[in-house]
């Protein structure tokens, strides 16, 4: 039995179709990632898994239980952290954590170890007595995450848990997720950081209410067949303008101080020589490179005929 079984799930808000009949299964004990642009249907899907909205069509089973019938039984095995999680602003850091540990009836024996682990990740131990209201944005997010992770549910659903969390803490957060997974918990997580997608067992990329690609991150990457080159130069924005105009080019994207160019066909050596000459010294290095999940995502987004931003649905934030 899969931990989560989504079949032809569809959801509309007024005239906007948020999710257009998707099917997905998350295996028992799996760490499954949902990625996709804003408004693609991720939050709607997660909320439906958590019994917080009723599908317009299709079924969702969690641990074999139907989300539209077995609401209470599902809620008993499920942990959910929504995008906007409310802490008690006038309670201190440690009072918040203790409150949720009590709420979830975490046995005292397990508490200490888990709390220690969570404080290590959040670096909030120096600030145990501080009111949640006086924390920085990211510290609040980390406290909210800690509260959600204080117990070990059978199924854990986390909606963009790492938004606003700094890079060092993000790494530690993913280590905690792994250790929770090792205790047998199935985890469904969405993220806007695509480097995190690589840390999932499997991912699904959603776009406009549909699942466009899914599978293990490695197979998603390997399924991308176009030649991708990483270019460096003095002015990468000028390089981007130059390569966007080349006949062989499929897409171009800035990646920090480098430019990634996806070609429709492998360019010849003489083409590179030409490009280097026309760049007037701007193009310095180039080399073929395997695509990352972000490359695959960006290429899909740029070629799915998205058109103007106005083409995206004005529906609820997915």
């Amino acid at each position: 039995m899969n931990a989560i079984e989504i079949t032809d799930f569809r959801k509309e808000y007024g005239t906007t179709v948020a999710v257009r009949g998707i099917s997905l299964s998350v295996r028992e004990g799996e760490l499954f990632g949902l990625i996709g642009p804003d408004g693609s249907g991720k939050t709607t899907t997660m909320r439906a898994v958590c019994t917080l909205l009723v599908p317009d069509a299709g079924t969702i089973l969690v641990q074999g239980l139907d989300t539209s019938r077995d609401v209470m039984r599902i809620r008993a095995v499920l942990g959910y952290m929504p995008q906007r999680f409310s802490l008690y602003q006038d309670l201190s850091v440690e009072q918040n954590l203790r409150f949720f540990a009590d709420l979830f009836r975490v046995p005292p024996a397990e508490r200490l170890e888990r709390e220690e682990q969570l404080y290590r990740f959040s670096r909030l131990s120096e600030f145990k007595k501080r009111k949640a209201a006086a924390l920085s944005g990211g510290m609040k997010q980390k406290l909210a995450l800690s509260c959600a992770l204080v117990h070990t549910p059978r199924v854990l659903v986390l909606d963009e848990p790492t938004t606003g969390v700094d890079p060092v803490s993000r790494r530690e957060f993913w280590d905690i997720l792994r250790s929770i997974q090792k205790q047998g918990t199935t985890i469904l997580v969405s993220t806007a950081y695509l480097d995190e997608a690589d840390r999932c067992d499997r991912v699904a990329l959603m776009y406009r209410g549909r699942v466009v690609v899914s599978g293990a991150p490695s197979s998603v990457r390997e399924g991308f067949s176009y030649p991708l080159y990483r270019l460096k130069g003095k002015d990468v924005r000028a390089l981007q303008a130059q390569f966007a105009a080349a006949a062989e080019t499929r897409t171009t994207q800035l990646f920090g101080d480098a430019l990634h160019v996806v070609f429709n066909v492998e360019p010849s050596e003489s083409r590179w020589a030409e490009w280097r000459a026309t760049s007037a010294g701007n193009l310095e290095t180039w080399g073929r490179q395997p695509p990352s999940i972000e490359d695959v995502f960006m290429d899909l987004m740029s070629t799915q005929d998205e058109g103007a931003p106005g083409a995206a649905p004005a529906g609820a934030r997915s």
Partner: protein, 241 residues
């Protein structure tokens, strides 16, 4: 290059706790200045002081030539500020939010209509004038928040995590807008937790525990730390404590 932002030993305490500790920064006009640091490092506190929203405990700071202690009203007229939680009215439409901010900045009725067309057009929001803000995808809200922050054509923009939670495609479009804005002479002071975005800044500074621990161009930071990316530099500096 004219100086847009200048601080000398800028300090802020909350009770005994020192949130910002003797910060010295100078940012030139038209510069994109990236302000990095782990959660709780003091980034938002510095921005709030520079925007005239929070009084420093000690030290000096001028923004657009105005003193943060005595001329905070003049500062507010000359800057745009986009806070970590976009300050939009969720139950107003896109157009109403825009008009609200235009009114705050004292634009006349004719001016407002013209600005509304121009800015909603520039940010790809024309079709959404009557959409309720609550229903917008995050990337759209973020563009609307930026539109509201630039409608009075400020010389200096403070952007506090403008791209948090925004998808990679929308983030790249946002950064293109930032570059265009800076090319027109506007100074941009921006925080982010996406380290590849740090590479898009002219200079970056890393603050940790209220103290500035690094300040240079992304290129020189990588060189001096012998790292391939600002991400690695950041982890090197911040991860070691």
């Amino acid at each position: 290059m004219n100086t847009s932002i200048h601080t000398e030993n800028l300090t802020r305490k909350f009770g005994e706790f020192v949130a910002v500790d003797r910060v010295n920064i100078s940012v030139g006009s038209g510069e994109i200045f990236g302000f990095l640091g782990p959660n709780g490092a003091g980034k938002t506190t510095v921005i709030r002081m520079l925007c005239g929203l929070l009084k420093p405990t000690a030290g000096k700071a001028t923004v657009a030539g105005f003193d943060v202690y005595t001329q905070s009203e003049l500062i507010k007229q000359n800057i745009g500020y986009m806070s970590q939680k976009f300050s939009l009215y969720d139950d107003l439409s896109v157009g109403e939010n825009f008009e609200f901010y235009a009114g705050v900045y004292g634009l006349g009725a004719g001016e407002i209509a013209e600005k509304r067309r121009e800015i909603l057009g520039r940010f790809g929001l024309e079709a959404y004038g009557s959409a309720v803000t609550r229903d917008l995808p995050l990337g759209f809200k973020q563009r609307l928040a930026l539109g509201c922050a630039v409608l009075h054509e400020p010389r200096i923009l403070f952007l506090d995590e403008p791209t948090s939670g925004v998808d990679p495609k929308a983030r790249r479009e946002f950064w293109k807008t930032i570059h265009d804005t800076a090319a027109g002479g506007t100074t941009v002071f921006v925080t982010t937790h996406y380290m590849e975005e740090a590479e898009y800044c002219h200079r970056v500074s890393i603050i940790d525990g209220g103290v500035i621990v690094a300040l240079d161009t992304p290129g020189r930071l990588k060189e001096s730390h012998g790292k391939e990316s600002v991400q690695d530099v950041f982890v090197d500096i911040v991860g070691s404590d």
